[in-house]
C-alpha cells in the first residue's frame, strides 16, 4: 500500500501538470480571438517585473451591476466597427460572447464619481449638492510580456500610441490574454 502511495506521490504531480496543459489547450481550441483597445494605467510605473497591467478601453453599455464585488459580473462583448462594446448581460437578449470578469481574473476598480455641477452662485447659501453618481467601473488585465518587447510596449503605452490586447474568449467566459500589439491603422 505504502509503496503504491509513494509511487503515486511522484507520478501524480507530473501527470497532473500534463493534464492541466491538456485542459488549457482544449479550452482554448474553440475560443474566439478578440482585439480589445487598451491604455496604460500608471504612467510612472506600468511594468511590474515582466507583467504589465493595462486598462481595457472598451465602451460599457447598460447597468453592469457591482463588478467590484467578490463574484464579479458577466459582460457581453460585441464588436462594433473598430470599437469593442461590453454590455450588461440582460435576460432575453442573446449574448454570443459572454465574459466572466472573475473567471478572467480582471481587476475591477470602482468608477470615479463624475464632477459635481456647481450650485447657484447667488441668492443665499447654496444647498448641499447631491452626491455625484459614480462613473462606470474600470477593468484592467495583467499581461506577461516578453523581456525583449517589454520596454517598447511600455513606451508605446506611455506615449499614448493605440495598442490592443489580443486575447481569446473561451466558451466558459474566460478571457485569456495572449499579447499586446500596436492597433491596426485606420
Amino acid at each position: 500500500m505504502i509503496r503504491w502511495l509513494r509511487l503515486l506521490a511522484l507520478l501524480g504531480p507530473v501527470v497532473a501538470l500534463a493534464l492541466l496543459v491538456g485542459w488549457r489547450e482544449t479550452e482554448l481550441r474553440g475560443a474566439a480571438e478578440w482585439r480589445i483597445p487598451v491604455t496604460g494605467v500608471d504612467p510612472l510605473d506600468q511594468l511590474r517585473g515582466r507583467h504589465l497591467t493595462v486598462q481595457l478601453d472598451w465602451r460599457l453599455e447598460g447597468p453592469v451591476g457591482d463588478c467590484t464585488a467578490d463574484g464579479g459580473c458577466t459582460l457581453c462583448l460585441e464588436q462594433r466597427a473598430a470599437a469593442v462594446v461590453a454590455r450588461a448581460d440582460t435576460p432575453g437578449r442573446a449574448c454570443p460572447a459572454r465574459l466572466e470578469t472573475r473567471r478572467s481574473r480582471l481587476t475591477v476598480w470602482p468608477g470615479v464619481p463624475e464632477a459635481a455641477t456647481p450650485g447657484p452662485a447667488e441668492g443665499g447659501p447654496a444647498a448641499p449638492a447631491p452626491a455625484p453618481p459614480p462613473g462606470p467601473p474600470r477593468f484592467a488585465a495583467t499581461v506577461f510580456v516578453p523581456e525583449a518587447r517589454a520596454d517598447a510596449i511600455d513606451a508605446a503605452l506611455r506615449d499614448g500610441q493605440p495598442t490592443v490586447l489580443v486575447a481569446r474568449l473561451t466558451r466558459s467566459g474566460r478571457l485569456v490574454a495572449d499579447r499586446l500589439e500596436p492597433a491596426p491603422r485606420g
Partner: protein, 379 residues
C-alpha cells in the same frame, strides 16, 4: 595545519603524549578528503549549470511554449525517476537532492503554466498548488532535513501568502474565507501534529524539521504578520467576530498534544511552548482590542513574540535540544533588529529603539553563551 597546531598545543599542555599525537595524525590523514579539489570541481559544475540556465533565460522569448512545457515535463519526470531509483539503491543524498529538485520543478512548472496561459492571480494560489502536488512526495520520500525544510517552508509560505492576501483586515474571519483563513493560521500547529504522527514520518530528520515548523512561522510572523496585526484597528466587537478563526488552530494544538501523549517524541514542556508560542503570537492581535498604529500596540506585539521565543528557547535548553535553542535565540535577535526599523519615526525614537534593542541583544548574547556552555548535548 590546524590539526598540527592543536596537537602541538595539546602535547605542550600535557593532555596527550607524542605517541598519541602520532596516532591521531595518522588517523586523520587516513580520513582526509581532497576538499579543495572537490570545491574546484563543484565550482565548475555550478558554473556549467548557471551558464546553461543563463543561455536558456537569454533566449526564453524565442523558445516556443510547447517546447517549454514539454521540456519541463521531461525534467520533472526525470527528477521523479531519479528519486525512485536513488531511493531503491540506498543513495540517500542523491535521492534527497533529486526530491528537492522535483519539488522546485513542480513549483516552477505551475509558474510556467501561469506564464504560458497568462493566468493572473494571487501568489498563494501558486504556493497552495505546489504544496498539494509536491507535498505528498516530500512527506513520503523525504529522508533528511532538506525535505522537511522544503515541506515546512512551502506550507508556511502558502499560509502566510494567503493570510496577507486578505483584502481588508475588517474582512478577516468572514464566511466563506473563514475556514481557509483558520486553516492557514493553524499551519504551524498542523505541521507539528504531522511531525508527531506515529509512523507517519519515515525518518527522524523530516520529523525533526517538521517540529521546527512553528518556529519558522514564528519568524515570519515576527517580521511581517504580527506588526501588521497590531497596526490594524481591532474594536471590542471585532474580537468576538474573530474568535471563530480558532476553529482549526485549537483542535490542531489538541491533536499535537494528544499524539505526543500517546507516544512521547517531544518533552511535554517543550511541546507546550511550541504549541502555545505561535498560537499566542498569531491570535493575540486578533482577540486583544487595540487602536490602530500605536506605539504600545507595537511594543506589545514585540514583547509577546520575544516572550514566546524565550519560552521555546528555555524549554529547548532544558530538554537539551540545542539546535532548537539556537534557532529560537537567533529568531529573537532578528526580531529585535527588525524592531529598530519599526520604531523609526523620529531621531529620538530610533535612538531609543537602537539603544534598548542593542542592550537586549548584548544580554541575549551573554545568556546564549551561558546556556550553550552549560547545556546538555543535543538529542
Amino acid at each position: 595545519m590546524a590539526l598540527e597546531r592543536d596537537l602541538a598545543r595539546w602535547v605542550a599542555a600535557g593532555l596527550i603524549d607524542g605517541a598519541t599525537a602520532g596516532r591521531i595524525r595518522a588517523h586523520e590523514q587516513a580520513l582526509a578528503r581532497p576538499v579543495w579539489r572537490w570545491a574546484v570541481a563543484a565550482t565548475g559544475v555550478l558554473s556549467v549549470g548557471l551558464g546553461l540556465l543563463l543561455l536558456v533565460a537569454a533566449n526564453w522569448g524565442s523558445i516556443p511554449p510547447p517546447l517549454k512545457l514539454g521540456g519541463h515535463l521531461l525534467l520533472a519526470a526525470t527528477a521523479a525517476a531519479a528519486v525512485a531509483l536513488a531511493g531503491q539503491r540506498g543513495q540517500r543524498w542523491t535521492a534527497e537532492a533529486a526530491l528537492f529538485l522535483f519539488a522546485c520543478l513542480i513549483l516552477a512548472g505551475l509558474a510556467l503554466h501561469a506564464q504560458v496561459y497568462q493566468l493572473a492571480g494571487p501568489s498563494w494560489e501558486l504556493l497552495v498548488g505546489a504544496l498539494l502536488l509536491s507535498g505528498p512526495a516530500l512527506l513520503l520520500h523525504g529522508r533528511t532535513a532538506l525535505a522537511g525544510a522544503a515541506l515546512a517552508l512551502l506550507a508556511l509560505a502558502a499560509a502566510f501568502a494567503f493570510l496577507v492576501a486578505t483584502p481588508d483586515p475588517g474582512m478577516l474571519g468572514q464566511w466563506p474565507r473563514l475556514l481557509p483563513e483558520s486553516l492557514a493560521l493553524a499551519a504551524p500547529l498542523l505541521l507539528l501534529a504531522l511531525g508527531l504522527l506515529p509512523g507517519g514520518i519515515p525518518d527522524a530528520g523530516v520529523a525533526r524539521l517538521l517540529r521546527a515548523g512553528p518556529l519558522w512561522l514564528l519568524g515570519l510572523v515576527a517580521f511581517f504578520l504580527a506588526p501588521v496585526g497590531w497596526l490594524t484597528d481591532v474594536a471590542p466587537a471585532d474580537t468576538v467576530r474573530l474568535v471563530p478563526l480558532l476553529i482549526v488552530p485549537l483542535p490542531a494544538a489538541a491533536l499535537a498534544l494528544l499524539l505526543n501523549r500517546r507516544r512521547p517524541r517531544v518533552p511535554p514542556r517543550l511541546l507546550a511552548a511550541l504549541v502555545a508560542g505561535p498560537l499566542t503570537v498569531l491570535v493575540a492581535p486578533l482577540i486583544v482590542a487595540h487602536p490602530a498604529d500605536t506605539l504600545w500596540a507595537r511594543l506589545l506585539g514585540l514583547a509577546l513574540t520575544l516572550v514566546a521565543l524565550g519560552w521555546i528557547a528555555h524549554a529547548a535548553a532544558d530538554a537539551g535540544w540545542r539546535w532548537l535553542f539556537n534557532l529560537a535565540v537567533a529568531l529573537a535577535a532578528l526580531r529585535l533588529l527588525a524592531a529598530y526599523f519599526e520604531l523609526f519615526g523620529s531621531l529620538a525614537t530610533t535612538g531609543f529603539g537602537m539603544v534598548g534593542g542593542g542592550l537586549l541583544l548584548i544580554a541575549l548574547a551573554f545568556g546564549w553563551r551561558r546556556v550553550t556552555r552549560a547545556g546538555p548535548a543535543a538529542p
